[in-house]
């Protein structure tokens, strides 16, 4: 996994250095003053990307649980609420949803007499959170359903109500199966946050776009952009693997 990646970056570097007519690394060369300014400009989008992703992930985890629970009900009406939400949200591509939230939702609010402006930051977060929540809901549902029915029956016979059963018996066991896929989902959010650039959010991708417009060096700048996401995702993956190991060890013990 690491070898081809290394080879690729070596190839790109060599190709870039060997024929300066196609590559112009000077644009992001940190040893020159202008190159260093450009690099700083590009990397400064990192904070926004991380913020958007983190807040959206936390919201998605909360909304996902709220959506998953009715899906586990014995009552058909509740299950229907879950199905409709999951199927509907899952079917909307992220970009149209982003446009709808950013350009459309304020108008909806206005027509209801509320003046709630939506800035690019929250527009991106709301869209990412809702879009992702359909998937986290399914992760929760699968995780909770994998816990044997006898567990909730035993909880009932010692007098626990629904909320207590979930909190003390089911979720602590299900969390081991839920956390790793949930963390994977976080990677998805980080990547999808790039769409926030189209509504003007100053994050990694937007910064790259803006620099390309002034410097006319898309190849070098987008290459760096890709490596920026790569670094972010690699860090998260390492976290996920650490988490999985910990959970696995816990389960055996």
């Amino acid at each position: 996994m690491k070898k081809p990646l290394l080879l690729l970056s070596v190839f790109l570097l060599v190709a870039g250095c060997a024929s300066s007519s196609t590559w112009g690394w000077y644009v992001i060369d940190p040893t020159t003053a202008s190159g260093w300014t450009n690099v700083k400009f590009l990397i400064s989008g990192m904070g926004a990307t991380i913020q958007i992703s983190l807040i959206a992930a936390v919201l998605s985890i909360a909304i996902g649980l709220l959506v998953a629970l009715p899906g586990l009900s014995e009552k058909r009406g509740w299950r229907l609420v879950n199905r409709v939400y999951v199927e509907f949200v899952r079917s909307i591509p992220l970009l149209p949803m982003l446009f709808w939230v950013f350009y459309g939702l304020p108008i909806v609010f206005q027509s209801m007499g509320m003046n709630i402006p939506i800035d690019p930051f929250w527009g991106a977060i709301i869209t990412l959170a809702i879009s992702d929540s359909a998937f986290t809901a399914e992760i929760y549902r699968a995780g909770i359903q994998s816990i044997a029915k006898g567990q909730s029956e035993a909880a009932k016979t010692i007098g626990l109500n629904y909320v207590q059963t979930m909190r003390y018996v089911i979720l602590p066991q299900a969390i081991r199966r839920i956390l790793p896929p949930l963390a994977n989902q976080f990677i998805y959010i980080v990547k999808m946050s790039a769409f926030a650039s189209v509504i003007g959010m100053q994050e990694l991708t937007r910064r790259a776009n803006e620099l390309v417009v002034t410097e006319y060096r898309p190849l070098e700048i987008y290459t760096l952009l890709i490596f920026e996401y790569l670094v972010l995702v690699l860090i998260i993956s390492a976290g996920v693997r650490w988490l999985e190991r910990r959970m696995g060890a816990d389960e055996r013990g």
Binding site: A148, A154, I158, L160, N161, Q164
Partner: protein, 246 residues
Amino acid sequence: MPDAAIELVDVNKWYGTFHVLKDINLTVASGEKVVICGPSGSGKSTVVRCINQLEKHQKGTIRVDGVELTDDPKSVAAISSEVGMVFQQFNLFPHLTVLENLTLGPIKARGMSRKEAEEKARHYLDRVHIPDQADKKPIQLSGGQQQRVAIARSLCMEPRVLLFDEPTSALDPEMISEVLEVMVELAQEGMTMVVVTHEMGFARKVADKMIFMDAGEIVEQGNPEHFFTNPQSARCQKFLSQILQH
């Protein structure tokens, strides 16, 4: 009958079109020990699961301690505090220690203090003869020990009635007797018990009333002596001859 701990009147239940329970009438007096046996699929577990509302019956009346069981959450709360249950698969909570398994109900459902709940838990662990395993996880115990923890967990809720759904069927043979021994002791102390089991030795020793079920009906009921020596129905005779052979 005011003294009846459990009363089932004309209870019927269907799974879809399958008629699992047919006109079940059964009274369990306070302090009485009732053993239910019968071939698999006869509905004996379903009777027990209806009594503590893990399953809903569609027709007829079930009263626990005089309270009729309905969909009303109050009735569900009422039975869960009166009726304890021991499952075939133990159903201990694997992520909690033995002690936490025992104190969860008293603390969360009863609002008891942790200290008081732990004292009670240790008292009942002592009674099921495993005082030294309180801090282990269930998976570190043998099957027989796990089932005794499950019994202790039910006892911590101080139920009026204890239901057993084939409590020894998932156990290795050498562990059955340690569980039965605890059950016999409970019976001798006057606990009201409804036990679904094929352990006929246990039944002879403690049962006040034997019930034989087949195809969703109570085919025969009576005192154990009469039941074992002189069963009336052909189905019961056949069943007894099959399970008492060895």
